[in-house]
Amino acid sequence: MKMEVKFYSGNVAAAEGAIAAGCRFFAGYPITPSSEIAEYMSRRLPQVGGIFVQMEDELASMAAILGASWGGLKTMTATSGPGFSLMQENIGLGAMTETPCVVVNVQRAGPSTGMPTLVGQGDVMQSRWGSHGDYELIALSPSSPQECFDLTIRAFNLAEEYRVPTMLLMDESTAHMYEKVVVPPADKIKVVERKRPRVAPEKYLPFKPARNMVPPMACAGEGYRVHVTGLTHDERGYPQTTDPEVQEKLVRRLCDKIRKNERKMRDMEILHMDDAELALISFGISARSSKAAVNRARKKGYKVALIRLKTIWPFPEEYFEKIADDIKNFLVVEINYGQLKYEVERNVGKGRVHHLPKFGGAVHTPEEIYAKIKEVYNGN
């Protein structure tokens, strides 16, 4: 097999990445600007023996990918803001029942119906804690069609490894942008499968974690007769709805399996960090304008770095603690009125975290960002 070079939009690249990662089930509901993913999957999945189903709404789409994941398949759905809101209910069920799956959210400008065809990055916080209760999950953010392909594969691998719904936080611009995508031969793509139990059914405790805090998963029809519930449950999977100790043990593990494995999920592009006094922090499409602005500022002698987050959640807290003393000022560039900014503030301290928001409908220009760099740098 050979490497191939394709000309893909971000949406198509994400769909192809899913298939390369082993996704064989897609349930979705049409919504701009993500619909091309469903359309593409409806044509492509049957060719590889996979199943596509268009559900009646996003509540159902999310429920169906959980059900199919318990049926042993790698599963995905794709949506945008309003649909992402509807999916939160069963994203919570997925977190509670530790069901691997991938949710693509092609962000558009909100709130509510907002600007359906135009870019936004306002779902940063919703992708972390959009469902009720206490939980952690993983969110990745690509900046190009190539990364839509690569990070979708990574999203599946992380979802399988940590048994957690994993978000691919795209944006409208990256989704509709066409670029060259290098598709490696299948045998060069790293694909992770969920761990299966190695003990006999009578000895299997379905929610007893292994050393990485993740329990091996027995799927339907394998003879393990697992009970799966969104209620607080013990290691047998049985509901224990009046015992705070069972609740603590379960929720602590659901959060810690992500928090304590953050290093393994960490993924950033870091530029010009060595002597930097000001660090820009961005992701997705905004990071591309940021990169252009940073390169221009460097040429003019400003000691500016770029930290582009490809893994947004879990946030690389340890990394930011480490660099907090070396960097004088931070500038967060994002298409919202302050979301990732708060996370940066929380980790490096307030007062020196500057913000360049956009409200949706347009991408920052490098000129705007360059002007802001100068302003922050010169202390104006």
Partner: protein, 276 residues
């Protein structure tokens, strides 16, 4: 004399370590579950090849008592969860066992669309006319004028006739029984389990604790007597003629039994074609 039952004849299908169950005295859920278990046994269904999916509510707890792959999902979402499961595992038998509020209020959209698609699954709906677990509130099945904790002056809403909804949405098998009709109910569940496509059995069931005592039937026995005196078997009638009214007859029987290609079959054909 003390009578102590150590085993239930159907223990092999139950997670016996989870009994006692949470259901109230006089509730019909035990009877409904029992009929289901006998249907499994008489059809010789391999428990390893059966998945039961429930939503939320009293009936929603059924999945948790069954010693099979069992999934207790979110409120109203048992059917779409089961849709994903059945598509991933086409050779398994997939049963959704849930209540009227779960399946027809919050989950109503999923019900009609799964029936429309002719998803290959059996849906068993225990209809007790109210939301029992949360304290007896108005449901989409509460008869007109009935009193519930959120219709203290009597229900002003026209209820769903569930069998009519199922038939109109495209279900290939539709039947209604009460928990009084144990043998007929069991036979209908067997037919539904054997049916290819979307099969639906409505099981009218007493809820003396939350519904009956507010509607002049304070015990399970009162409601069973009502079933006995008012049930009329009418096989094959148009289910639109089987509305349920307070104080009226309850039409029971098998209303629909037709053949139609299932979604699973068509997906399988499509994949075979697409792979060539």
């Amino acid at each position: 004399m003390e009578i102590e039952a150590k085993h239930h004849p159907m223990d092999k299908y139950l997670r016996a370590d989870r009994i006692p169950h949470i259901w109230c005295p006089g509730c019909g859920l035990g009877t409904a579950l029992n009929c289901f278990l006998y249907a499994l046994e008489e059809l010789n269904i391999d428990p390893d090849n059966l998945a039961v999916v429930s939503g939320i509510g009293c009936t929603g707890r059924i999945a948790g008592y069954l010693n099979v792959d069992s999934y207790h999902t979110t409120h109203g979402r048992a059917i779409p969860f089961a849709t994903g499961l059945k598509l991933a595992k086409p050779d398994m038998k997939v049963v959704v066992f849930s209540g009227d509020g779960d399946l027809f209020a919050i989950g109503g959209n999923h019900f009609i669309h799964a029936a429309r698609r002719n998803m290959d699954m059996t849906v068993l709906c225990v209809n007790n006319y109210n939301y029992g677990m949360t304290g007896g509130q108005l449901a989409p099945t509460t008869p007109m004028e009935a009193r519930t904790t959120t219709s203290p002056y009597g229900n002003l809403e026209h209820p769903f006739n569930l069998c009519h909804v199922a038939a109109a949405s495209g279900a290939v098998y539709v039947a209604r029984w009460t928990t009084l009709h144990v043998r007929r109910l069991k036979e209908s569940i067997k037919e539904a389990l054997n049916k290819k496509g979307f099969s639906f059995v409505e099981i009218l069931s007493p809820c003396p604790t939350a519904y009956g005592r507010r509607n002049r039937s304070p015990t399970g026995l009162d409601m069973m007597k009502y079933y006995q005196e008012h049930s009329v078997i009418k096989h094959g009638i148009d289910p639109s003629e089987a509305d349920i009214e307070i104080g009226g007859d309850i039409i029971v029987g098998k209303f629909v039994d037709i053949e139609k290609p299932t979604f699973n079959e068509m997906v399988k054909e499509l994949i075979e074609k697409a792979r060539k």
